[in-house]
Symmetry: D2
Subunit: 109 residues, 4 copies
Amino acid sequence: MSTADTTPSAGPSTHALPGYHDTKDAQLKRLRRIEGQVRGIARMVEEEQYCIDVLTQVSAATKALQAVALGLLDEHMSHCLVQAVATGGEERDEKLREASQAIARLVRS
Amino acid sequence: MSTADTTPSAGPSTHALPGYHDTKDAQLKRLRRIEGQVRGIARMVEEEQYCIDVLTQVSAATKALQAVALGLLDEHMSHCLVQAVATGGEERDEKLREASQAIARLVRS
Amino acid sequence: MSTADTTPSAGPSTHALPGYHDTKDAQLKRLRRIEGQVRGIARMVEEEQYCIDVLTQVSAATKALQAVALGLLDEHMSHCLVQAVATGGEERDEKLREASQAIARLVRS
Amino acid sequence: MSTADTTPSAGPSTHALPGYHDTKDAQLKRLRRIEGQVRGIARMVEEEQYCIDVLTQVSAATKALQAVALGLLDEHMSHCLVQAVATGGEERDEKLREASQAIARLVRS
């Protein structure tokens, strides 16, 4: 559990640390690699490289973004959602609703 | 038609210009916006913002990448594929196979 | 099979009823409509209807299946997962892992 | 090429046979298998089987539907689209637009 028992955060939730706190460095590394991938795709377009080769890289970057999303969601459920369930009541219901909506956005994107 | 005015081209195809030649600036603009989105997501993670807010941005960036892919594919079909069909023979079959595979990667990513 | 009709269940979970127990009729109704959609698509193919019209119906059926999946997942989280978190320990960890894997399969399908 | 040169069909396009004419039996077989999968999922829900097991089958049926769609699209491009490009003019532009829209629906479903 990475969630803070100490300071009750400001912000959209009652915890101070995000679910991905413990894996933050790994997530950042992946995001920076994806940023590089997208910059690489822009360079390919700039150099007028072949459409299909550009598309292959776009598919790869999309998959990498999905992997980040699945990682964040997993951490969110293991930490924030677990904590909200322990808290119970409106906090639990709100977090469940929020997670469901995030999953729906992910499945539909 | 944006295909080869000048040199017969080396590379994976027989045309010198990619299908997206005429919309290159628009594609580049979108890709740079997506690069900024991904950098923004990294910043959110750096600042330990709330998981669900990060996920919302990841979904938005994924959708934006898909829109770029659909745009590139549309241009590819209208230009490169149309030209390959006019050429006929092995060139046509190869370009059809290639397009089908790119679409499958896109649908599955 | 983890669901028991009588006894409080052996199997991968400690509850006798699935998360969708209360919305079972609605889920069944949606699934039967989708079964009808798929049968309708087969009929279109049988009658050699136009490819694009068939594809439109395949996309609609795919979206309807995704909606069922999101509904089931939502119920699963609100009931089975919440209960497993209350139970704690290995049961909680197992259910979280299982839910993450189900979400990943859904996002990638 | 399965497209009819002889009778100029009624219907949304100028060809008499759909792109999947030659692979019709294979497509029908897949669709009937999917219909069976969906009926199986309804039975699982009827029997109140475990949520995650139901979700696994829904993901499998979704993937199978996508495979049908990719197969139909491939045949459509190799036959109907190729023929429309040969015809040229408005017919070509209309078929390209239509294919792009079908691909977009598929990617977003």
